[in-house]
Symmetry: C2
Subunit: 134 residues, 2 copies
């Protein structure tokens, strides 16, 4: 499976999970290719919107480029959404981190499979956040 | 050009226009085909979100099915957005109507090219609405 279709499958998996609990979510068309700073997925309730850059991997770590994260933050600021980096590691559940809580090297933001992040949220945490402010 | 690609071109035209005035807008992936009630285009500023079902036509009128409009309203309610039907008639500018201001027959919602709608907005009106509440 190509990297692109793997990315799209991860996005689809995530929007199905949100709709399953009646929270509207959409995949953004052309998110990896168009010239505008757009996220992969948008999720929202009337009071709370999340913009998510999401990736799935069979590796033990996942990178996000500075450019991806910069664009995610820019979109979120203009649109009025909270930015999150979402990763689905193989055989684990989705985890979500705000960019400011995500470790980075000189080259990338990095989320590791075997590490516990104090500020990471799981899917149910995001749902709670969204529903509390509904 | 297929009906589907014509629809996508209309959506692209619209999002370029919004980004040109620095307002974030996105096309929703799979909007015509997936099982969830999603709009074609989402536009937003921190205080104001619009969900738009958009079509372009060379005909003198444009239909929207009851199902399309129902889904647009449902999404808008859950997500927290104002629903609009947008039409680009040939050689005219985009016009936008809220569903409740759009005439309908027994079969469809209908917007006509040669008619003046008191509550129709043009693109600049939408921008004003979005920027006023920024």
């Amino acid at each position: 499976m190509s990297r692109k279709s793997k990315g799209i499958n991860a996005e689809r998996d995530l929007i199905h999970k949100f709709w399953a609990v009646n929270i509207p979510s959409i995949r953004v068309a052309g998110s990896g290719s168009i010239k505008y700073p757009v996220p992969d997925v948008l999720v929202g309730t009337p009071k709370n919107k999340l913009a998510i850059e999401c990736k799935s991997t069979k590796s033990l770590y996942q990178y996000f480029t500075f450019e991806e994260v910069k664009q995610l933050i820019e979109f979120s600021h203009l649109f009025g959404a909270t930015p999150y980096l979402g990763v689905k590691f193989n055989n684990k559940q989705w985890i979500f981190l705000k960019p400011e809580n995500t470790p980075k090297s000189n080259l990338h933001f990095i989320i590791k499979s075997d590490k516990t992040y104090k500020k990471a949220l799981i899917f149910d945490d995001l749902v709670k956040t969204l529903k509390e402010s509904f």
